[in-house]
Subunit: 514 residues, 2 copies
């Protein structure tokens, strides 16, 4: 059927959507969410149909995604046909109905997600099914490979290439800023790509950005790594396993994360990693609640690594409170930098040299932890960090005090004597975000007390930093509502864990940081 | 945050969608698929956010659904805030994670579906979960009630009110056109609402439309039923259980139908039915494949009926081939009308008097089938049908030959001697649709042979009718590809059922007719 193109001055978030009036739709035999094949000159594409009751007859409305691809103008004629459903949709249905998917079927699904041939509702059904039915390790492997193959890869032409990754969920986890220079100083290549925060107060890219630019191209990364052995860059624009971004966009509001393994491991494979340590923070308030769960996940990472030809080890780490004392991009960068310079909190230092030590042992050394500790203690990590900062275009002479912290500040004090019995990772994250993190880099939280510490009534528990007074106020208000720390003299005084029905003031946020 | 409204000249299919530029979205802390609360004067609503990279700064794009509700003009200021996720989304997540939903939670979900507070991806996740995890009878009851309560209801102020429904899937099932006049002639009230075809060649509303108008308002229905005891109208615009339409829109492309029971029964409840017969066609090629499955479904219908205060009985009927010989709106209307007038195929007649007989017995009579047969045989059903036709605005003197059949015709002949071993319901439906049904009312199929009949090489198996030559040609071509009937001398000659891998030419269509 011939229809006149009517260009819509708007995007559909990457989706390929065409609008038809109900009369034309009926003649074509298509319903809302059916697909049409649009042909114009020698170009063709598949679009999803939205049906509008008051759209001009014999016209087809094209979002910018489509009109750009076809290079078409309003008023020109296109040929429109009812398209068959994509083969991959029947594979999605197969999985919904309890089947297992072979590699070729998973490839077809990932390809059609990338091509926007599958709609968001179909992707949502797929992800919900994966969450409920689970994935076999063979399916996980195929998904990981398909996600690598539909994206860009980094080819350094060297071996070994080491990498580390935390599955996330712990605010203040800035260990990467220590581990990368330690490994690079030891002479090993570690091209670290990181994400920005989506639902957390800071991602590693947000932290590092306080020291130097992180938005590098593939070519610039190669140059930095060839010069210094390491880098700490934002991975978001590098097109590594881009299908993952499309999946995340859909699963985000559903609060499910069935692709944790392929998402992480496809990105490691894409940068060519040969040796990887995965950090699995574990405990109440972490993504993984029990040691048992952590073990299962760890063995899945290791097995998947084998299948993707990567040597993987996992570190199960204590995840019941934030790492270090600082939460928020600038505060964390400062704390990490101070720790590299020899000062800084024991837990951050300990975790960093442990993970770095594991990596050093994996690539053939002995006494990895001692070596890592030595590199840090002798200042070699600091020298290396400054080299990397310079290579990425930052100031190598930077001092901790050069990092700008929000100048609005409020103190939250204890309302009784006691001991810190728990600190809620989620509540701390929420408060830091309310103060302005990650968008306002200087915003965040500085803890003054951590688990097990004694506190007197009136003593400061934490400080909130913000760049704007209004944000500071709402963050203080939220802190009083949420009560992110539990104080008591003795455990025996805190027998009540929860009340049902409970009055939820703020919904728990779902963390998709990986 | 204050933003300037920019009205978009387009609908979003009922959805409430607002476009933000990435800068404003970031300042508000919202991501794609998050929600915002838009306030304008004394009006407020929740919209789903789409983020566009090249949208003008400090503007908010509003689809017509929103601008109409707010009665706003381009350039006016609105207040926009990040809205919390709706409570109901956490109930969806609860079900995803294996919980059971209580009535209040199901009410909240259905309400938020109706208000478009839940996005299509969230509804897709919900429906996929229901399909995989199943629903308890308590959940089914709550969903049915919620779907009734969010729609209109018909209040005739009489009792009993009888109704029948087929779960569908069998082409050519025109029994309703016989059952309604039989029941009405027997003195019982049967206000029958039906659907139009979505993926099948004809719905009951499409069939009846060849006899009289079917697009009646609630008031007109009351008038027709008060005058004649019965009606046969299109239910689509009556707003009966409208949430169902929103669910169908999402599940359609996924090929799942977890809401079969609440969807059917909510509509029965909404018209005030007290006695209902549910027809469950069973067999290869039907929705329900085995007698065992049919029994399970039947007891669910009966139990749900009890909970909704309706007396329900189920008929498990033979569903391995089309009912009667005619498929397509006009062809079926003609065949049904001829059967009411005393002529017509035995299977159609037998099924109709069986189901009508069950209904007559349910409202207190004895020998229901004999009574139904008598009403049909003595012409009382025909008189009643003509009354109903007149009351709905049709010509009561209509003759079968007045019904216009497509004037393009092709015959498909047998390529060997033998017996009809199977007829594929799905292939017959696909061919009838290819010929133009249901849009072109005169298009369809007339079977010349049915299961078990002898056929000689060269004898006619079926006739294809169309209104346009091109449609006729493609339907003939499809018939040759699909081979909708299996012919063989003996069963022993047909041992091969299928080959794997198979070469699928046309995808099997998913039937959502209920």
């Amino acid at each position: 059927m011939k229809l006149k193109a009517k260009l819509l001055d708007i995007q559909a978030g990457g989706r390929r959507i065409a609008i038809l009036d109900d009369e034309s739709a009926s003649l074509l035999g298509v319903h809302s969410s059916d697909r049409v094949r649009i042909s114009y000159k020698n170009k063709q594409l598949i679009a999803l149909v939205n049906i509008a009751t008051d759209f001009p007859r014999s016209h087809i409305g094209l979002y910018q995604e489509i009109s750009k691809m076809l290079r078409i103008k309003t008023g020109e004629n296109v040929e429109v046909q009812h398209a068959l459903i994509p083969e991959s949709l029947s594979y999605v249905q197969e999985k919904i109905n309890g089947g297992r998917l072979r590699e070729d079927k998973i490839n077809a699904i990932v390809r059609d997600v990338m091509e926007h041939h599958l709609s968001d509702t179909e992707i949502a059904a797929f992800l919900t099914t994966l969450h409920i039915r689970g994935l076999s390790i063979t399916e996980i492997e195929a998904l990981s490979r398909a996600m690598v193959e539909t994206g860009s890869t980094l080819r350094l032409g060297k071996e070994p290439i080491v990498d580390k990754h935390s599955i996330g969920g712990i605010p203040g986890d800035k260990a990467t800023i220590l581990i990368v220079p330690i490994i690079a100083a030891a002479g090993f290549v570690i091209p670290k790509t990181s994400s920005r925060a989506v639902t957390s107060p800071a991602g590693t890219a947000d932290r590092v950005e306080n020291l130097c630019p992180v938005n590098l191209s593939m070519e610039e990364i190669m140059e930095v790594v060839n010069k210094t052995n390491g880098c700490m860059v934002w991975g978001g624009a590098l097109d590594l396993a881009p299908a993952d971004d499309l999946f995340i966009q859909v699963e985000y509001s559903l609060g499910i994360d069935p692709l944790l393994l392929p998402s992480i491991m496809s990105k490691k494979k894409a940068i060519g990693a040969t040796h990887v340590v995965i950090d699995i923070p574990t405990g109440r308030g972490a993504k993984v609640k029990t040691i048992g769960e952590a073990h299962t996940l760890a063995y899945d990472f290791i097995e998947l690594g084998k299948r993707l030809e990567m040597n993987v080890q996992c570190a199960i780490t204590f995840g019941e409170q934030p790492l270090g004392y600082a939460i928020g991009p600038a505060l964390e960068a400062k704390e990490a930098f101070e720790t590299v310079m020899g000062d800084g909190p024991a837990d951050l230092r300990e975790k960093a040299i442990h993970l770095a030590g594991m990596l050093l042992e994996m690539v053939g050394g002995e006494n990895g932890k001692q070596k890592a500790e030595e590199i840090l203690r002798l200042g070699r990590a600091e020298v290396k960090l400054r080299e990397i900062i310079a290579a990425q275009g930052g100031n190598p002479k930077i001092k901790p005090d050069d990092i700008k912290i929000g100048d609005k500040k409020a103190e939250i004090t204890a309302d009784k004597d006691g001991r810190i019995l728990w600190i809620s990772n989620q509540k701390i994250s929420q408060i830091a975000r309310e103060a302005g993190a990650p968008k306002e880099k200087g915003a965040g939280i500085k803890l003054e007390k951590k688990l097990g510490e004694e506190v007197k009534k009136g003593e400061v528990l934490l400080e909130i930093y913000a760049e704007r007074n209004m944000k500071l106020e709402t963050a203080v208000k939220l802190t009083k509502e949420l009560q992110p720390m539990g104080i008591s003299q003795k455990l025996e005084e805190q027998m009540l864990i929860d009340r049902i029905p409970t009055r939820t003031i703020h919904k728990k946020a779902f963390t998709i940081e990986r």
